[in-house]
Each structure stands twice: as C-alpha cells, then as structure tokens.
C-alpha cells in the first residue's frame, strides 16, 4: 500500500528523490535504436517529418507496403498524398503522433471545434462591442438623463473617460458608495465646465 502523506510530519529526508514518473517499458532502449538524424536531415523541410521523424516506421507493415516504403523516404511524401493512397492511414498512427499532427492541422488549415477558442473569441468580441457601445452611448445618456441617473459604476467610468487627467487615482481610492460630486468639486479635479456640460442643476445634492 502506498504511504499517505501527513502534512505535520513533513521533512525533506522523508521524500524520495525520485519524482515518481514512469516511462513505458523499453522506452530508452527504443530511443537509442530510433536515433537516425541523418534521415531526419533529409526530410527537414517537410513539416510532417519534422513533427515525427520516426512516424512512418511505426505504421503497421501492411500500411507501409501500401504507401510504398521505403520509396516514401525518397519521395518525401506528404500528408495529402498519404491520405489519397490510404485514407485510413491516420488512424494507424500512434496516439502521440496523431496528437501532434492534429495540432498542426488545426493551426494550418483544418479548423477543429475547440471550446477554448470559441470562448476566447466570444469574450474578446463581447468586450469590444461593449466598449464601443459604452463610449458612444454614455455621453448621450448623461446629456438626456443627467449623471445621477447612472449607476455608480457607470458614472465612475464616465467621469474617468470624460474628465481631467489625474482624477482616476483619486477616484480609485474612494469606495463607490462614498464619493459624490461635492467631493469631486472640493478636490477641484473635475473642471466646472465638465460638470456644467452634464446639465446637473444642483451639484451639491447629488450623491452617486
């Protein structure tokens, strides 16, 4: 049974220096046999061979014969041709190579469904649309309704966007509930013209 870890008893001496990872049986031995960089060199311009220099050798014999091994090395056959010779060949590739080629295809041409990519672009698009809407819409809202009709957060954004430089730092120090126009006036960071342009009649009474 594997020992369980008790946090209060932690000491470096009790931890084996082995990280605990395994490698498939015979992996290092096989790697030594597979090292043929003089063959990698001749295929260096082809993306597929670059991705997995030994992949062809890992195909079952029957597939190798069908696509013409070893002539394939000389002809530098590509993915498209391989598929036309043997449509199912991709399925015969080891998982590791399928994964690499899959990623490569996704990047180059074939778009595959990836929820992260969708989420990424949806959020970027929404943020862009909201940003544009906010920038265009907010001044007219303020003009027609007055600043007091806005939520505290929107009003803060508006003021940051349309008033003096240097205001941002001060506003950020205040909590949204506590700051109001009167305080802004006292700080004299918001110029009077900006406030007048907001058509706020009684500045002193407005608390955002």
């Amino acid at each position: 049974m594997k020992p369980t870890h008790n946090p209060s008893e932690f000491s470096w001496e009790k931890i084996p220096k082995d990280p605990g990872f395994q490698v498939p049986k015979g992996y290092f031995e096989a790697m030594s046999v597979e090292v043929k960089p003089w063959e990698w060199k001749r295929v260096e311009t082809e993306a597929l061979w670059k991705i997995a220099p030994t992949y062809f050798e890992e195909l079952p014999q029957v597939i190798q014969q069908k696509v013409g091994f070893p002539a394939v090395w000389e002809r530098r056959i590509g993915v498209e041709e391989m598929l036309s010779l043997e449509p199912t060949y991709f399925e015969y590739l080891p998982q590791r190579i399928q994964k690499r080629i899959g990623i490569e295809n996704e990047n180059s041409k074939a778009w595959t469904w990836n929820p992260w990519v969708v989420l990424r672009w949806t959020s970027v698009s929404l943020a862009a649309v909201f940003g544009i809407w906010f920038y265009v819409q907010m001044p007219s809202t303020v003009e027609t309704k007055g600043l007091e009709q806005l939520s505290a957060t929107d009003a803060k954004f508006y003021l940051l966007e349309h008033s003096n430089d240097g205001l941002e730092e001060w506003i950020n120090e205040q909590s949204l509930e506590s700051w109001d126009m009167a305080q802004l006036m006292e700080k004299q960071t918001l110029d009077k013209k900006t406030i007048e342009s907001l058509e706020i009649v009684d500045v002193e009474d407005i608390t955002l």
């Binding site: 932690f10 084996p16 605990g20 990872f21 498939p24 960089p37 990698w40 060199k41 220099p53 989420l119």
Partner: protein, 179 residues
C-alpha cells in the same frame, strides 16, 4: 566515453553517425528527465527530447566548447521546454485555467505516475512555483547541478540563482505543510 572524444569523432565524417548515437545514449536519460519534470506528460517529453536532439544534430558544429557539452544540451532542452509551455499558454488566452494547474490536475489522472502521496504533493508544490523558479529547483534538487552550471544554462547570476532556490524551497515547504 569522454565528451572530447565524442566531439572528435563527430567532426570526423566517417564516424559522425556513430558518435552522435553515442552522444544520444549518454545524455538521453538526463535530458528526458529534465524535460519530463517540466512538462509532466510523457508524450510531450518524448517529442521535446526528439526536438532537442534534432537541434543538437544540426548545431553541434557551432558548439564552441565554452561550456561543457552537457550544459549546452541542457540549455537547448530548457529552451525547448519554455517554448513549449509558452505555446501552450497562448492557446489558453482566457486565463480560467493556467497551464500549471492543468499539469497539476493531470498528475491525478496520469497512468504513468507511480509515486506515493507525498511525491505527488511535492510535484504539485513544484508546479505552483513560477516557471523560472521551477526550473532552478528541479536543476538543483533533482539533477544536483552546481550553481555555476545552472548559471551557464540559464544565463542568470549565481547570486540570483541561490536566492531563487532558497525562495522555491520555502514556498514548497509552506505548500507541503498545508492540509
């Protein structure tokens, strides 16, 4: 075989292939384990080892001998790891899940992990470190490299490496003492 002999053989065309095979045999395990500890997954480590040795093959003629052959290979492997992790990070533009958390999660479901609870927790603690600190810790703790060698690989001063290792150890101890 000494590195010098390996290099002499490599630069002699008739024995070039043989010398390279010997070089790979000599350094494959160290290289693999260095990469594996950074990327966790065996298949990814396998690919990166191949990429590393392809680069060694193509660039060995440029090797000046300013550092040892091992630290030179180690530097290539380190760069491969960092590039790989950076690419992975780019794929997750929205940082809901960061790469390190993903790798930590992977540890729980990985068939090729045979360690006990404490080994797994240590790996998770290491994954919680910033990338460079993780590298420094692995190189010092597992590979027992000297600070001088680490400095050659990472291009960082020895003082900074010592501080980085010290911080990493403190953070890991804190992590390990948590329930």
């Amino acid at each position: 075989m000494e590195d010098k002999d390996l290099l002499d053989k490599f630069f002699d065309p008739p024995s070039r292939n043989l010398a390279f095979n010997q070089l790979v045999r000599k350094y494959q395990q160290k290289t693999y384990w260095h990469i594996r500890r950074m990327v966790i997954d065996h298949d990814d480590a396998d690919d990166l080892v191949q990429e590393t040795f392809i680069k060694v093959w193509h660039n060995l003629h440029k090797f000046q001998g300013d550092s040892s052959l091992f630290t030179w290979i180690y530097r290539i492997a380190t760069n491969e790891c960092l590039t790989f992790l950076a690419k992975k990070r780019k794929r997750f533009f929205v940082p809901i899940v960061d790469v390190e958390s993903q790798l930590a999660h992977k540890l729980d479901s990985m068939e090729t992990f045979s360690g006990d609870d404490i080994q797994k927790k240590l790996q998770k603690a290491i994954l919680s470190l910033p990338e460079k600190q993780r590298l420094v810790f692995n190189m010092k703790y597992y590979d027992e490299l000297k600070y001088e060698e680490m400095s050659e690989v990472l291009g960082t001063s020895i003082g900074a490496l010592k501080a980085s290792y010290h911080l990493a150890v403190k953070k890991i101890e804190e992590f390990m003492l948590k329930d």
